[in-house]
C-alpha cells in the first residue's frame, strides 16, 4: 500500500476482445504512451482491468486519486462522444458496476467503512459506444478516432492532479 501512496492510478476498463467494449484499455494504453517521459510519469500507475464492483474497488486500494477510462452507453450522445467528469456525477460507467457483485459506489463505501485507503478523488473519462455483443479485437472507426482525444484528457487531468494549484 505504501508504495502506491501519493501515486495516481489510471485504470482502463472493459473486455479487450469484445470490440468497442474494450475501449477503456485503448484509452489507458494511449495515455500511458503519451505520458512517457513527461513530468508526471513517475507519479502514475497505469493498469488494465475487466473487473467491476468489488473487484474494481480492490484494485484501487492504496490509491488516493484515480482516473477510470471506460466505455459508456447512454444513447444520449453520438457514438464516439467523449466525457470527462468526476465519477460522482455518474451512476456508473460501463464497467464500474458488476452485476455479479456490487456497484463501484457500494464497493467503495464498503471498503471505506473497513478503513481501506481508497481514492477520494475519482475521475471518469468515457467514450460513448453502441452495445457490443460481437467478439472482435478492433474498435469501430468512430470509437477508435475518439481514443486520442480521451487520452489527451487523461494527460490534462494528470497534470491538474499533479499541480493542484
Amino acid at each position: 500500500m505504501t508504495a502506491k501512496r501519493g501515486k495516481i492510478l489510471v485504470i482502463g476498463l472493459g473486455n479487450p476482445i469484445l470490440g468497442d467494449d474494450g475501449v477503456g484499455w485503448h484509452i489507458a494504453m494511449a495515455a500511458q504512451t503519451a505520458c512517457e517521459g513527461c513530468s508526471q510519469a513517475d507519479s502514475v500507475n497505469f493498469e488494465l482491468s475487466s473487473a467491476g464492483g468489488l473487484g474494481l474497488m480492490e484494485q484501487m486500494v492504496g490509491y488516493q486519486r484515480a482516473i477510470i477510462a471506460d466505455s459508456i452507453v447512454t444513447s444520449a450522445s453520438e457514438i464516439g462522444a467523449i466525457r470527462s467528469k468526476p465519477f460522482s456525477e455518474y451512476l456508473a460507467t460501463a464497467h464500474s458496476s458488476s452485476s455479479h457483485d456490487a456497484t463501484l459506489q457500494a464497493a467503495l463505501e464498503i471498503g471505506r467503512r473497513m478503513g481501506l485507503l481508497l481514492p477520494t478523488e475519482l475521475w471518469a473519462i468515457t467514450i460513448e459506444i453502441a452495445p457490443s455483443y460481437v467478439f472482435s479485437e478492433t474498435l469501430s472507426p468512430a470509437v477508435a478516432s475518439a481514443v486520442p482525444g480521451a487520452a489527451d484528457l487523461i494527460r490534462t487531468r494528470l497534470a491538474e492532479l499533479s499541480n493542484p494549484d
Partner: protein, 488 residues
C-alpha cells in the same frame, strides 16, 4: 392480454429481460426469459494457436475466467494427448478451489443472500450487500473482503495473475510454488474453512431459523422436479476439477456416468425462435418442451444438481453438512430450487477443505509440473464444473495446432430451460387475478433465477448507470398502463 416486462434483471451478469404475459383474467399465461447472447466467439478463435486458448478464453467472462482457463487448458491437454504430472493437477485444482471460495462467497453475500438476510420484500435500496452489512454487522464486510483477497492471492501465486490466470498450458503448468508460498496458501485455506462454517451458521440462523423463509424454500413456487448432471470422482463424490459426469433422473436414479469427451452422446440443444441462446437437454430422453419430470430431457447443472448426482462430498465437514441438508429437506434428490443457496454454501465449505487438502499434499511443491508435449495435435475436450454449471470446451486443430473448429457449452447455458421454467412457476404462483404487482412480488420472480447464479454474459458488459429494473405492464392493445422502475 397484459404484458409485464422486467428489463434488465437486477444482479445478473449480462443483462436479460423477463416478459410476463397475462391472460384476460389477469393470470400468467406465459413467460419468456431473453438475454442478448454474445456472438462469434467460436469463429473468433478459429485460426489461432490452441496453446493460446487458456489465455484467450478467460477473457470471455468477467465473472469466471478461472473456469474457462481450466477447461481450456484441459482441452489443450487432450488436443495434444498429454497427461500433466500429478503436481500440475494439484496446482490447478488448488487454484480452482480458491476460486470457488471467492466466487461462492460473492454470490451469497452480494447476490443471493440479500433476499433472505434483508427479506424479499425489503426496499431494493436496502436489499443488497450494504444492507447485509448494516444488518449483520461491519465484521461481515471484513470477512467477505478477506475471503476474496485470500482467493485472489492464491490465484496469483499459482496462476500468475489475480483474476485472469495464465500459467496452465498443454501438459501442465509454467511454474510451481515454493514451500513458503505453500505455507501461506495452507494458512489462508484454514481461514477459509472457518469462514465457510461461519457462512453456514449464518444461513442456519437467518434462513433456516425463520419459518417464513423455510416455507418459501419448501413451498410449491420454486419446486420443479427435473434431471440433474454434475461431475463426480471415482467414488461418486463431487469434484469441481475432474471426473466423469453423472446423470440422475427426478427420482434420484442414476441414468449413467459419462466421460466429458462423450458429451455429444448425452447432450443435444433445442432452438426456440424467440432467443439466440440454445436449450441443452438430455439427448436420450429428448426435448419435450419446458417441462419437468422423468419424461422430459430438461436437466440442470447447479450446486444443487451436483449434490443430487453425487453420493456425497469427499471432505469431512462438508459431508456432515451434506447429510444435514438431505435430512432436513426430506432426502434425495431435492427439487426445491431455492435450496440451491444452501447447497452453494456446502460447496463453499467443500472447496475450502479441499484447498487445505491440496495445499498439504507433499507433491504440491514438486518441480515436476509439466509433461513435455510430443504428440501431434488433433481434437480434444476439456471440462470442469464452473460454479454455475458444467463447462465444456471442445477444440479441433490442424496438425500444427491451429484451431479449425471450437465448441463451448458454458455453465449457465445448461440451465437456460430450468431457469425459464422456474421463472414461469414463480410468476404463476405470485401473480394471479387481481394481484397488485409490487416490487417485492417481482423480486420473488427474480429470486427464481437468482438461485441459479446465472452468468449469461460470459463477458463484461456496457451498461449505463446502476442496473435498472423496469417493469412495464401493457393492456391487450399494447397500451402501457403502468411502469415500475427501481435501481439496486
Amino acid at each position: 392480454m397484459e404484458r409485464i416486462t422486467i428489463d434488465p434483471i437486477t444482479r445478473l451478469e449480462g443483462h436479460g429481460k423477463i416478459e410476463i404475459f397475462l391472460d384476460p383474467e389477469g393470470n400468467v399465461a406465459n413467460t419468456y426469459f431473453q438475454i442478448p447472447e454474445l456472438r462469434g466467439f467460436e469463429q473468433f478463435c478459429v485460426g489461432r494457436r490452441v496453446e493460446d486458448m487458456p489465455i484467450l478464453t478467460n477473457r470471455i467472462c468477467g465473472v469466471c475466467p478461472e473456469a474457462h482457463h481450466m477447461a481450456s487448458a484441459k482441452a489443450a491437454d487432450a488436443v495434444y494427448r498429454v497427461d500433466p504430472p500429478r503436481t500440475a493437477k494439484l496446482l490447478r485444482e488448488l487454484l480452482y478451489s480458491a476460486f470457488y471460495v471467492t466466487d461462492h462467497t460473492t454470490h451469497f453475500y452480494a447476490l443471493g443472500g440479500p433476499d433472505f438476510v434483508m427479506g424479499p420484500d425489503a426496499p431494493v435500496a436496502e436489499r443488497n450487500i450494504l444492507g447485509v452489512i448494516h444488518k449483520v454487522g461491519l465484521e461481515i464486510a471484513g470477512k467477505v473482503l478477506q475471503a476474496r483477497k485470500n482467493g485472489h492471492a492464491v490465484i496469483e501465486m499459482i496462476g500468475g495473475r489475480k483474476v485472469h490466470p495464465c500459467t496452465s498450458i498443454p501438459g501442465g503448468q509454467t511454474k510451481g510454488i515454493t514451500e513458503e508460498q505453500r505455507k501461506e496458501i495452507e494458512e489462508m485455506g484454514r481461514w477459509a474453512i472457518e469462514f465457510a462454517q461461519f457462512s453456514l451458521k449464518l444461513f442456519t440462523d437467518i434462513v433456516l431459523g425463520n419459518k417464513h423463509y423455510v416455507d418459501l424454500i419448501l413451498g410449491d413456487s420454486y419446486y420443479i422436479p427435473m434431471h440433474y448432471i454434475g461431475t463426480v470422482d471415482e467414488n461418486n463424490k463431487v469434484n469441481f476439477y475432474d471426473g466423469k459426469i453423472s446423470v440422475v433422473n427426478p427420482d434420484g436414479e442414476r441414468l449413467g456416468t459419462y466421460e466429458p469427451k462423450d458429451y455429444g452422446d448425452w447432450i443435444a440443444e433445442h432452438v426456440e425462435p424467440w432467443t439466440y441462446l440454445k436449450f441443452p437437454y438430455l439427448k436420450k430422453i429428448g426435448w419435450k418442451g419446458f417441462e419437468g419430470g422423468k419424461d422430459s430431457g430438461v436437466y440442470s447443472a447447479t450446486p444443487l444438481s451436483r449434490l443430487n448426482v453425487a453420493d456425497g462430498l469427499a471432505t469431512p465437514r462438508a459431508q456432515e453438512e451434506y447429510e444435514k441438508f438431505y435430512a432436513t429437506l426430506g432426502g434425495k434428490p431435492v427439487h426445491h430450487q431455492l435450496a440451491t443457496h444452501w447447497a452453494r454454501l456446502i460447496e463453499l465449505l467443500y472447496a475450502a477443505e479441499r484447498w487445505v487438502e491440496l495445499a498439504t499434499d507433499p507433491e504440491v511443491t514438486s518441480d515436476k509440473f509439466r509433461t513435455q508435449v510430443t504428440e501431434k495435435p488433433t481434437e480434444g475436450v476439456g471440462c470442469v464444473e464452473a460454479p454455475r454449471g458444467t463447462l465444456i470446451h471442445h477444440y479441433w486443430t490442424d496438425e500444427k495446432g491451429i484451431l479449425t473448429k471450437v465448441n463451448l457449452i458454458v455453465g449457465t447455458t445448461n440451465n437456460y430451460a430450468p431457469i425459464s421454467m422456474s421463472i414461469k412457476k414463480a410468476a404463476q404462483s405470485f401473480i394471479k387475478q387481481g394481484t397488485v404487482v409490487t416490487e417485492g412480488l417481482l423480486n420473488r420472480v427474480e429470486m427464481a433465477f437468482r438461485s441459479y447464479d446465472p452468468c449469461f454474459g460470459c463477458a463484461t458488459h456496457s451498461l449505463v448507470g446502476q442496473m435498472p429494473l423496469e417493469v412495464k405492464i401493457s393492456d391487450a392493445q399494447g397500451k402501457t398502463v403502468k411502469i415500475l422502475r427501481q435501481y439496486c
